[in-house]
Symmetry: C2
Subunit: 264 residues, 2 copies
Amino acid sequence: VFTIGPFSRLAGVSAKVLRSYDELGLFRPVWTDQASAYRYYSPSQLPELRRILMLRELGIGLAEIARLVDGRRDLAAALDARRDELERERRAIDRRLAALDIRFEMDRTASPIDVVVRPLPAEPVATLRVAAGGDVEAAFYELEVRVRDLRRRANRPPGAILFDDGTAEIFVPVRGSLPTDDRIGFRRLEACRAATVLERGPYGRMGTAQARLERWIGSAGYRRAGETRVIYLQFGAEPELRLPRAYLVDRSTDFVTELQVPIA
Amino acid sequence: VFTIGPFSRLAGVSAKVLRSYDELGLFRPVWTDQASAYRYYSPSQLPELRRILMLRELGIGLAEIARLVDGRRDLAAALDARRDELERERRAIDRRLAALDIRFEMDRTASPIDVVVRPLPAEPVATLRVAAGGDVEAAFYELEVRVRDLRRRANRPPGAILFDDGTAEIFVPVRGSLPTDDRIGFRRLEACRAATVLERGPYGRMGTAQARLERWIGSAGYRRAGETRVIYLQFGAEPELRLPRAYLVDRSTDFVTELQVPIA
DNA sequence: TTGCTCCTCACGTCACGTGAGGTGGC
DNA sequence: TTGCTCCTCACGTCACGTGAGGTGGC
């Protein structure tokens, strides 16, 4: 039998690891001296320890390993599950690498792009349809006035949903529900995950930004799962609409707009 | 300006994260009320926060991000470095997946294989050459007697280095240095990383185990960087050699032998 | 006025590494 | 006998999540 030091060198792990595994009940010395608390190990224990180390190298947690080695959990099933997890981890890394690559590529030709994937909360909104090429500003004015007069304006930013045919549905966040008519609708935007990017400045560059976001999504291995949304975070509006002041700026160079593409 | 809750929903992070980033000096509210300690944020801060979140999504640590956003560290260089790290992580995951695959494949045909990659410490040894097909047992007896009489036997296990031409060099660990002669040599085995596997039972199955370890190394994307070593952890020996009792067993079914292949 | 939100601790996560300070064994 | 090894705490790592217990603001 060996004390912990020589045995740890034989096994290729630190003495601290052996002490932890003893305390966890995962791997115990063949004998512990009651007086000195010295731990003694035998080389015949190495196969048992080796099994534990192999599972650890696969990234399985110690609590799970404890269940596997004493048979409370099925080894084959756990390895299958771990394989799935590893494949998910690999996809996550590949996405990060793709995000880096597309950033390098774009930095040469355009401004940097900071795409972030994040959850969007569900929200109740008042909506108004705008035809392709229609007057979005006038539509917002109409919708905001209506929501203001109903005293239902929520503090969140307004936005628009862009459809493939060039039409749009602009929306203004509301509290509670809302009466509808033939022009103004009420619905709840669904919660989802979305790839999002912020744009600064006037709306002229929105088309380019949208195209870059689409390309980013493709490169990162995501797939679109809904219509693009535009959120106006810093913008201009008439004072009589009495919008939350936090959103309002005077100059179009200070505009901040978020593009959101729901993804699967 | 918004309190922390509405702003956190706008940004897609938790309030707790915003409080941490404030404390870290990474991202501060536009204004903090001295009396209530309430934090107030503006939507115009979103681009600044977005940059931080993008870097976080790449797996960069917050301390590093702090250095990047205030310009103390070069962004392009950091992203390059991060890309290298991500590629290393991906290789590590690919190796784990390969290890899982080869395990599934082998479980159908043979006993499971628990390969562990670990560092081997350097060690001083007495050595003796054995011709292809030579008497390994007799050679060990000669070498152990010699080391015993010189009172240089270290407590570590004996082993052998296998060469491609079928010859071997058996070794016995020693303390300090050793006089050499035309039969018995002295050298220091170099420290290295090795893929290792334990075999239980008699030596007849060593050839198969060796072949499986070689295949594992190939599948996991490693490359051999030295001769295969064999370490005898549980074995039989004559009492007069006075070897450490911890290594000795009576029955060949209790033998434990480690195969080690140094890797790059 | 009543909830709701905000505040500051404080602990848990995970598998160790790295001491501090003290004692046993060759 | 002198180092060396062993022992048990205890803290640090990393970026949060999740309470507890209390207070401010519409």
